[in-house]
Subunit: 232 residues, 2 copies
Amino acid sequence: MPDSAFKDVRNLALFSQMADESFSALMRGAFVQNFPAQIELITEGDPSDFLHVVLSGSVDLFSAWNGRETSLATIRPISTFILAATVRDAPYLMSARTLEKSRIALIPSQNVRAVFDNDGSFARAMVAELAQCYRSVIKAQKDLKLRTSLERLANYLLRHQRRAGGARSFELECEKRRLASVLGMTPENLSRAFRGLQPYGLQVDGTRVTITNAAELEKFAKPNPLIDDATT
Amino acid sequence: MPDSAFKDVRNLALFSQMADESFSALMRGAFVQNFPAQIELITEGDPSDFLHVVLSGSVDLFSAWNGRETSLATIRPISTFILAATVRDAPYLMSARTLEKSRIALIPSQNVRAVFDNDGSFARAMVAELAQCYRSVIKAQKDLKLRTSLERLANYLLRHQRRAGGARSFELECEKRRLASVLGMTPENLSRAFRGLQPYGLQVDGTRVTITNAAELEKFAKPNPLIDDATT
DNA sequence: CGCAGCCTTGACAAATGTCAACAAACGTGG
DNA sequence: CCACGTTTGTTGACATTTGTCAAGGCTGCG
């Protein structure tokens, strides 16, 4: 594995506190690979052979059942995915594919389980990471069950605006069809939802979104830290 | 804390492997309390002062937003809840209330965080527990996003039947209004969904459910281990 | 240029929620 | 034990939300 990638992985919260020798043991047999866009990295149901780390690009976690498909999360650099399957030595619950050209580090799952059995500080970092992931999914669950699709879109846009620096105008950085899937609706419904938010001060032109009246939109969206804050 | 409760807690997978002294440190200041039904134990947004362990009875985890409310999970003996909030020292994302008369052990969250910083084997047990919880929520998320309410009900009944020993006939052990909330629909819609499953070999009388044609129901429900199996 | 994929729109269908009414089950206090 | 009121479950009628299908415009790319 090249030095720069090695460093990037080492600096992740998940790995930064562990002993040097543990980290070496972890990286034995690990490697970095470049993937083009739209490559399926893992398939749900497969055994979890590698813990993946997105170094650049982005990855879509999705799942299919009975001919339907839904996007569950987007992984952006620099973070890991399918940590839970790895530690439980259980099959992946989600599939993953690159959304764009991406560099991914692959760490043998066996190493992760072995090192975590020996290095308490690594185990502690994993606890923090998994607790965080768990809370994220709970928030997504609340978003889905407590809100209509219009409300989910409004809150998504407010979150996205904040994450993008708070400017009135910003870019959606994903395809609308995928956004629809993330938000749990059809592309057609998303199109109509964008129009449905116009009365609350929203303008959309292609992938460019402008919130002309944040107060009005928030009044409609009623964002809540226990659903919409990334860190709490 | 009484001896019997002490033992029950000690035998939990989460605590069984840790050193005796760690366990003692954990239990310092812990106590057991009996609650009647319908008591709100914790409220979402509150700081996580105690890790809770259900010793008997059952607990509903739910959440509210904008005048709506939804049940997210049921906790049955003997297991913990709100572990993630405890380890992150973050506010509860869900509220909890007793569904029936229940005995609950309360372990100061501070103890949990302190012991987990010192005892690697406890940290490892937490990793296993949290990974399990995470995977459960992912499955619930897939259930919600990939299936209609009729399909969710059908699969719920098949899961429940298996959990209850596989007999053709079994009891729903929760109120239908709550089941509706768990499944993400209204009580009215649930009533109709039960009738909608009659053609696939389902009979309902009060809280008693009989699956007269399991093959037909499964053909409709298409249960999937990556959504419906509790353990994988 | 021409194709393929995405986005949008309209018309329609299906799923789900809301409101109201009522029956059945339950718990409480007489 | 009964009477009473409260809660839950069911049903019907209806509204709203969401999905489906088909068509057309737009864009990007070979």
